[in-house]
Amino acid sequence: MSINNFNTLSRINSPRTTYQYDEFDKDFVRERVAEFREQVRRRLDGSLTEEEFRPFRLMNGLYLQLHAYMLRVAIPYGTLTSQQMRRLAEIADRWDKGYGHFTTRQNLQYNWPKLIDTPDILEALAEVDMHAIQTSGNCIRNVTADHFAGVAADEIEDPRPTAEFLRQWSSAHPEFSFLPRKFKIAVTGATHDRAATLAHDIGLRLVKNASGDVGYSVIIGGGLGRSPFIGKVIREYVPRAELLAYLEAIMRVYNRYGRRDNKYKARIKILVHEKGIETIRAAVEKEFAAMDYTAFQQDPQEFKRVAASFAPPPYETLPSESSKLAKARLETPAFDHFVSVNVSKHKIAGYAIVTVSLKPISGIPGDATSHQMRVLADACDRFGFGELRVSHEQNIILPHVKKDDLFALWQTLDAADLATANAGLVSDIISCPGLDYCSLATARSIPIAQAISQRFSDMARQRRIGKLGIKISGCINACGHHHIGAIGVLGLEKKGQESYQITLGGDPGFSASIGEILGPGVSADQVPEVIEHLVDFYLAERHESEAFIDTWRRLGHARFKDVLRREGEDGADI
């Protein structure tokens, strides 16, 4: 059953904004859908036991959650067309409860699909060149990239052609589909790391060598979860042509030597930690040298074909300043705040990058209704070449909006409750679904995010505080990336009670660091207050526009601990 009859025609003359499937890519995805449909049937007739079915279900993005199945749809490198976004809205209406949840890995999750419907959902996705392949399971997961790819002013090269290459190479890999554990790859092409490359199994950074050729700096062994590690550089420079071969060598070493005796010690970060980066580097280099890698040579012609999909849209030649924008900012203070907080510099004069926050005050971080999805699709058709991005901060980006159009866009967004001017501010909280949905969770996270957001609901105060990342995970698996939040919150269960551990000093960027624990856990209702005290202390101590993490680094962890100790003397149970 397809939903071809739905009105999903793409805009005529819409430029390419993401990788365009050719007949072979389409065949591949259709084959995967047919395979999964057959696997569901064989599960139901008993050919496959639940244990045997599980990895194939996971490799198609289907989890069994606390209350129902959850389907995780891949949004490779976070790039979406308006047509694809509309299809996501249709699926939400037809097979789910009219909303979806954007995740920290640039994916979209539906929380209420039925097993029997999932092949139809996958088919509906395939019709718009989308899938849920390898969004879960012990395989190479959906490849993520800088959400400002192609438009950031600080870019060496758009990372998405590389990420698309990796998507293809890693899809249904004959050798690497039954790894010790999941495997996540992130790519950045910029000088600021917006893709958290140091917190991935493999992080790739586009770099130039001495002769000006673009290649990759390869980082391995980063990761969060119960044992967080910052990734280490395994090779400073891998030429483009050799990238796939080099990655095959890493994967082979991991597949053979990664631990399989304990799933909590099975990620490559543990292998790197236990054997040491030198040993792993030697093993990878030995394998790389032994390979006949002519077959894996990244073909320059093919790379060019893929890269052409990401060619810049037909920008107009515009003055860099817009008087229309300046006037609207003066007249409408709320819009002015939106521009100063949610709009970023575009590499082309007269254009801007707009972040649409999915973190309304007291809302559920990352959730969007089907109506909001359609508003975003329409808005990017009207104002942004039909292109959208999903950020790992769980927000949506319109990557190319004319400065002249910003006010009209803002009005459209505002009418759909999508104009919260808090991108990067204290209420732009990253949160996993937590105990409200997830079977792994040990505590709730969404209500904590909502309470913190409520506590800081005064937007003027938020702007005074400035950029400050709060990240919340509802269990030790750290899907909310709490380790790399300037302020991290980890929900645990102690003697039947939820208990929240606060960490400070996490940093997802090139100067990545893992947050340090502040002290004993606090109860759910104390979390907003503790955070408020920490923020007040920071405001009192910071130098000018110093970021929270920099104040913390300058003053040291102990000073922040003291803040809480003083609170404790007043009788608070902190």
């Binding site: 072979f24 065949d27 591949f28 047919a34 395979e35 012990n138 004959p174 050798e175 053979r256 032994a290």
Partner: protein
Amino acid sequence: MALISNGEFVVDDWRRLADEEALPDKGKIIVSYERLDSALKARGANGDIGVIINNTLEIDKLTPVIAKLGLIAIAFPSFADGRGFSLARLIRRTGYRGELRASGRLLADQYTHALGCGFDTVEIPDDLAQRQNETQWRSARRTHQRTYQRGYISSGSILDSRRKAAQ
């Protein structure tokens, strides 16, 4: 045990020799890795000796004798343990042309993975063969007609097909 070759359940002309069994004078036999050297010495290298190995065996333990072997079976302790796929690749890389067999609870859904990595045959326990019968294995061969990877055995590399179509 059921043996699958080219998508069909076939008769196995190899016999797995238990370690306590005496070495027969002739016939195709599969011995454990521990017994391999003595079996080769006793019977010579006529291609009638095969070996079953763990998926953790280092390839250089096998290379000195690999040209003498008629069959190498890699044990899959669980279908979720993918080490055997990498080991198969390494064995094929040595130039080994004999039969390469995956032995364990491999699922029909993994058939193309096994073939892609260089296995010829798959040997599964009877209870599994009853649930996943010949029909399922036969159609499993056709589930991955298009593959993105190059350098693996498949019916159609997408890049190569793309090239052909563009010509």
